[in-house]
């Protein structure tokens, strides 16, 4: 069973996504704190990371960069999602090494499809 790490600052969001993911057969770990997320990522080496861009402590992009520059977590595909509407956010994500992107609110099915795609890659 694949493991997905959710780094997201809205706990309700975590709850719902976890429910969905679990229903699709994924193991879910989550944290609201980016730093914590980094640690978990480095320690547990999930198969995929769902990353919210707008995070209280560290900017999601920085987290992504961090993850991508760390040899341990380098290979882990990251899917970012955010409520931010800034147009170049997608670009910035790409530059940070993020593999895919979702805008909130998103279609649940989209999420599942993208996860599948990343994990199969």
């Amino acid at each position: 069973m694949k493991k997905i790490l959710i780094i997201e600052d809205e706990p309700e969001q975590i709850k719902l996504i976890s429910m969905r993911l679990k229903a699709n057969g994924y193991d879910v770990t989550s944290t609201e704190v980016a730093r914590e997320g980094l640690r978990i990522a480095k320690e547990e080496k999930p198969d995929l990371i769902l990353l919210d861009i707008l995070l209280p402590d560290i900017n999601g992009l920085e987290v992504a960069e961090n993850l991508k520059s760390d040899i341990i977590t380098k290979e882990i595909p990251i899917i970012a999602f955010t409520a931010l509407g800034t147009p170049d956010i997608e670009e910035q994500c790409k530059e940070a090494g993020i593999s895919d992107f979702l805008r909130k609110p998103y279609e649940s099915q989209d999420l599942i499809d993208k996860i599948k795609k990343q994990l199969e890659a």
């Binding site: 969001q13 969905r20 229903a23 409520a83 509407g85 147009p87 909130k104 649940s108």
Partner: protein, 781 residues
């Protein structure tokens, strides 16, 4: 001006004219005097001449008579005559009664007896008589007329001894002439008419003396006046033949004022004393000689010249007078001619003098007058109209005119220059004034404009001029700004990298910064223009402080970010929550629950759209949208749209068709955006059409592709058509639940189309149909 000219008529001309007039008048006067005196002189001369002529004639007459008498006197010395007389006297001396003898013969003489006849014959035929007759005949023959009509001789006793024809008496001693002759030696009678000869004659008798001086007898002759009258006639003849004068009449008058002879008609021995007196007054003076001009008896004006006979040698004057009458017309003809010519000449001289005077005075005064006029005009300041004066005279005035012309030309030049200068000055002044006004205008504008304006020398990039607003915005004193390089304040470009002059970029409503000396940069919106002032290139930068705008933008961005984030996050949760339940992940749900949840999920979808639309607008407004253009085949795109909506539309019970007339047209577009436009339009069509159809038509129209969405919906009112593409406008919106839109779709569609370089518009008929049409530029093949 003219008045003064007339009033003050050129004095020279007047003077000259007067002078010449004076000369002319003088000439006339002199001429008249000349004429008059000449007339007088001539008249006197002519008169004198005629008098002389008369005198000469009278002298001739006297001479004639004198010589005739002298002849007789000579004859009186004749030998034969002496002999005869001596004999006769001796005979008579021998008589006893001489007186008786004489009486007897005297009686016999006048009787017609035989003895008288014999006596007469004896007297007439004796040789003395023959001699006398011979004399008479001689003259007769010589002259063709009688000189002596009769000559006879009487002895000392008074008895005829010889005669050329029978005398009246035999005895003569009782006659006055005999006695006079005896006493004085000579006697001449007045002119008488001699019956026997039928002539007018003078009787002349001469005493005959012996050589011892004793009285012997008297010889008497009757002188034909004819000689004398001939002499008188000669005057007339002379005049006629030499001078062709035909009006001469000469009158011979004896000492008793008796007319002896006249060349004209006359009555012999007429008493003309009255006439003489009336004409001449007292003229009995023997010396009187004169002429008189008066009216003749024939009504003509005549010259009457009068002369007395003078003594001729020892021959006492007979006291005769000669009057020569002459029509003045004739005799004074020379005078008249002279008068005529003199008058003519005088008149001519007068005219010439007058004309000359006029001409010369004009010639002299005109240049002067012209000069004066010209100078007056100059004085008036009228130098433009003054002509050059032609130099006509060679005198001082001519020279003066010459000089004047030179001075004048010079003056004209100078005045023209001055005038031009004046004009220039006033033009310049006007220009200056205008310039100042423009400058003031400019300053007012520059001072009051809210934009900062900086003038930069394009070559040196030094700031040449700043307006107050710029100074304020830069925040340094003006003197610190002017003369400095522009990249110290205006823009942060490096030397050599000026976007305008070096990189050839246009700066038009571009955001930039003002570099403040205090640090901190002011965001500005600037435009830079190039301008040539004189021959130098300048850059004109004008900018507005957009700090506020920037702040607002930033706030807006932040706001939108925040809002969208804040909206999206809960929305995401809602959506996810609903989805989870709908997908029955937490557990199964019944149909009703499903429906309800589905409705809710749809709503979240709408909300999402709204939020996205809001974001889109702000993006478009900031023009931050970048199109991701690719080559797209129009047909494909249209097909995609068709597929998207097919079910939806047909489910509503409407017909949906796609007409592809694009003929393989390719367009270079951001496909997603254009699809968004189609989505918007078809979505609207769907919303507002209850029955009928919806068509999509794509058509190749040359350089563009035309895309049309046609519906048979409720249409749009004419008054609303212009506002269709405005933000937040909604039409045909029925209150209450029903079709609801954002009101932003068309505005966004318009933006997208226009960014692609196309156009969008609408045609509609209320209640019938609507067409939305937009164009996209084709890729040229």
């Amino acid at each position: 001006m003219h008045k003064t000219n007339i009033g003050k008529k050129t004095k020279i001309q007047t003077k000259l004219t007067i002078a010449f007039m004076a000369v002319a008048v003088f000439i006339v006067i002199v001429g008249s005097i000349t004429v008059y005196t000449s007339q007088t002189v001539l008249r006197d001369t002519i008169g004198e001449n005629t008098i002389l002529l008369a005198e000469e004639t009278l002298r001739q007459v006297s001479q004639d008579i004198f010589f005739r008498i002298e002849e007789m006197q000579v004859y009186a010395k004749d030998q034969m005559l002496e002999q005869y007389l001596t004999d006769s006297n001796k005979e008579f001396e021998a008589l006893d009664d001489i007186q008786a003898y004489i009486d007897k013969h005297d009686k016999d003489w006048i009787s017609d007896t035989e003895s008288s006849k014999e006596l007469i014959q004896q007297l007439e035929n004796n040789s003395l008589s023959e001699e006398l007759q011979g004399k008479v005949d001689f003259y007769n023959n010589k002259y063709g007329h009688m000189i002596f009509s009769e000559i006879f001789i009487a002895n000392k006793y008074g008895a005829n001894i010889a005669q050329t024809r029978k005398t009246e008496d035999y005895y003569q001693a009782d006659e006055g002439w005999w006695q006079k002759s005896k006493e004085e030696g000579f006697y001449m009678s007045d002119v008488v008419y001699d019956q026997s000869s039928e002539i007018y004659a003078i009787t002349v008798s001469v005493r005959i003396d012996s050589s011892e001086g004793d009285f012997m007898g008297v010889v008497k002759a009757v002188l034909n006046l004819y000689e004398i009258t001939n002499i008188v006639d000669n005057i007339k003849y002379q005049y006629l033949s030499h001078l062709k004068h035909s009006t001469v009449d000469v009158k011979l008058i004896d000492k008793n004022d008796k007319l002896l002879y006249s060349t004209g008609d006359f009555k012999q021995f007429e008493d003309v004393s009255q006439e003489l007196y009336s004409r001449y007054g007292h003229i009995n003076n023997a010396q009187h000689r004169d002429y008189y001009i008066g009216m003749g008896s024939d009504g003509n004006k005549k010259l009457f010249s009068h002369a007395h006979m003078q003594d001729y040698r020892d021959f006492k004057s007979l006291g005769w007078r000669l009057i020569v009458e002459h029509n003045t017309r004739e005799i004074f003809a020379p005078a008249y001619r002279l008068r005529y010519y003199l008058s003519l000449i005088t008149a001519l001289m007068f005219i010439v003098a007058f004309l000359l005077g006029s001409i010369i005075s004009r010639r002299i005064s005109k240049p002067a007058a012209d000069l004066k006029d010209a100078l007056s005009k100059i004085n008036e300041g009228n130098i433009g109209n003054v002509p050059r004066i032609a130099v006509k005279s060679q005198d001082e005035i001519g020279s003066l005119t010459d000089v004047f012309n030179k001075v004048f030309d010079d003056l004209k030049l100078k005045t023209t220059s001055i005038n031009n200068l004046d004009k220039e000055i006033s033009v310049r002044k006007k220009i200056e004034l205008d310039l100042r006004i423009e400058k003031d205008k400019l300053n007012v504008i520059l001072d009051s404009t809210l934009a900062g304006i900086v003038l930069i020398d394009a070559q040196t990039h030094k700031i040449v001029e700043v307006n107050p607003m710029a100074v304020q915005m830069i925040g340094a004193p003006k003197e610190d700004i002017v003369g400095k390089a522009c990249n110290k304040f205006i823009c942060p470009a490096e030397v050599g990298k000026c976007p305008i002059t070096d990189l050839d970029q246009g700066v038009n409503n571009v955001e930039g910064v003002l570099l403040s000396p205090r640090g901190g940069n002011t965001p500005i919106l600037k435009t830079v223009g190039k301008v040539m002032l004189g021959d130098k290139l300048y850059l004109v930068e004008s900018f507005m402080d957009i700090t506020k705008r920037k702040e607002v933008e930033q706030l807006k961005d932040e706001f939108i970010s925040t809002v969208s984030h804040e909206l999206r996050t809960p929305l995401s949760i809602i959506k996810e929550g609903i989805s989870l339940v709908l997908d029955e992940i937490p557990g199964k749900i019944n149909k009703d629950q499903k429906d309800i949840l589905q409705t809710a999920k749809d709503s979240t979808g709408r909300l999402t759209k709204i939020i996205n639309s809001l974001l889109d607008i702000s993006k478009f407004e900031a023009k931050k949208v970048e199109l991701e253009r690719t080559d797209v085949k129009m047909s494909d795109l249209a097909g995609k749209v068709y597929d998207m909506f097919k079910n939806l539309i047909e489910d509503k019970g409407l017909s949906f068709t796609l007409k592809d007339l694009s003929e393989e047209s390719m367009v270079y577009i951001d496909e997603d955006k254009v699809v968004q436009v189609f989505t918007n339009l078809v979505g609207n069509a769907l919303k507002f059409t209850k029955q009928g159809k919806i068509d999509i038509i794509v058509k190749d129209v040359g350089s563009e592709v035309e895309c049309m969405v046609f519906d048979t919906g409720i249409g749009i009112a004419k008054k609303d058509l212009p506002n269709v593409f405005n933000k937040f406008e909604q039409f045909g919106r029925t209150p209450g639940p029903g079709i609801k839109g954002t009101g932003l779709g068309l505005s966004i569609s318009k933006n997208i189309v226009e960014i692609h370089g196309g156009q969008i518009w609408v045609e509609s008929e209320l209640g019938k149909s609507t067409k939305f049409i937009f164009t996209l530029p084709k890729i040229a093949v």
